[in-house]
Symmetry: C2
Subunit: 209 residues, 2 copies
DNA sequence: TTGAATTAAACAAACGTTTGATTAATTTTT
DNA sequence: AAAAATTAATCAAACGTTTGTTTAATTCAA
């Protein structure tokens, strides 16, 4: 079974779902855009729902490895770990902006219940790991007594918000049509600097700028 | 024409769209849930799309009045204005959590192009006002030289992220099923305190805690 | 009694999916 | 190595449902 073709269908599906949503995209649209026969989607994946599951399966869970490493790591300070997490999240969102729009949709709507729970489960797991790091920083009196869960919400929420809509992002930054913020290294760096500055100011007791 | 019934349909539609998305909800589902005949939606609103437009029309734009007031106001300091904005945003999201899920979907998906642009337009306008306040604070050397646009993204992004999914929110906070975070005054206060603390630490040069 | 409100029934179009036939590639047998 | 058998990939066409919407008849209220 040709994995190239399966991957191709998944990648085209990400583009389509990101733009029109899962329910808003028909298999016929997808087949046309991917230049395959309508029957091929069901032939390869079984159903539209299962295509979606295969897509999540393949692309999600990207942070697990990184967070597992960090938990085992004793040489990095807590703030270094947080910085590292911020960098990896921004990297990931900028390298897969459309997939993350699809993920956001899935968290937002609870139409396909089991997928919804699955995606949320992944996310909650990540939250627990990051919260643990922040709590350790607080115990060590390196961090202020912040709200660990909501601090992580601010990190992810900021990135999410910026990645929600290219149009919104462009207009917010007063850019011309045609400009793609997600392909702009300067903008990526700008987001990174903002997040680090804000989170440092928020977390660190001795924050020498 | 009975506005009560129109309002009733809109309110039921918000519940339905928030859960299943616009494309994922059928007029028959909506009619059943609202206990009206299928034809009534088209009778009152003309079409499913126009029902959606009426919904946005009625419920969105809630921040305009508040931001207009703040722009004319010379007695409040910039940080007081930012605090006020944070309070109003949190208030609004907690009083209309389902509608804001629908709004987020609309920003995320660009299926109904003109509505999409309209909603984004409202949001960009708000951004400009808040950015102007932050920039003034920077000029006055009360605020640090932060990134005004992304600072606002962090405020809205944090709230958005917490309001995205009740399930996620519950699990993140280790609450039992049945707990509704959006009806919990304590959680609302907790979010408010986190946001103010973080934004103060981020913005203020002399931030005496 | 007139106009608005409500209804069940019907509409064409679009949907996800299945089918059965055909071709291409691979494996097995001779 | 050639022929036969098997499997995989692809296709156009059709399936039964569901979709948003409209119609025409009926009920209700002023």
């Amino acid at each position: 079974m040709s994995n190239d073709k399966k991957d191709h269908i998944i990648n085209v599906a990400i583009e389509l779902f990101a733009e029109k949503g899962f329910e808003g995209s028909s298999i016929r649209d997808l087949a046309a855009k991917a230049d395959v026969n309508v029957a091929m989607v069901n032939y390869y994946f079984g159903s539209k729902d299962k295509l979606f599951e295969a897509m999540i399966e393949q692309k999600a869970g990207f942070m697990r490895g990184i967070l597992d490493e960090l938990r085992a790591n004793n040489s990095l300070t807590e703030i270094q770990k947080i910085d590292h997490i911020i960098e990896k999240y921004v990297d990931r969102f900028f390298s897969q902006p459309l997939f993350h729009k699809v993920l956001q949709q899935e968290v937002l709507v609870s139409q396909r219940a089991s997928m919804h729970e699955h995606v949320i489960g992944l996310f909650v797991k990540n939250t627990e790991d990051v919260v643990a790091i922040i709590e350790k920083g607080i115990r060590k009196k390196i961090f202020r007594k912040v709200d660990p869960q909501l601090t992580f919400s601010s990190i992810v929420g900021t990135i999410n918000h910026v990645m929600m809509s290219k149009t919104m992002c462009m207009k917010m930054l007063n850019k011309d049509p045609g400009y793609d913020p997600y392909k702009d290294e300067h903008f990526k760096k700008r987001l990174l600097i903002h997040l680090k500055q804000m989170i440092h100011a928020h977390l660190l007791i001795n924050n020498d700028l």
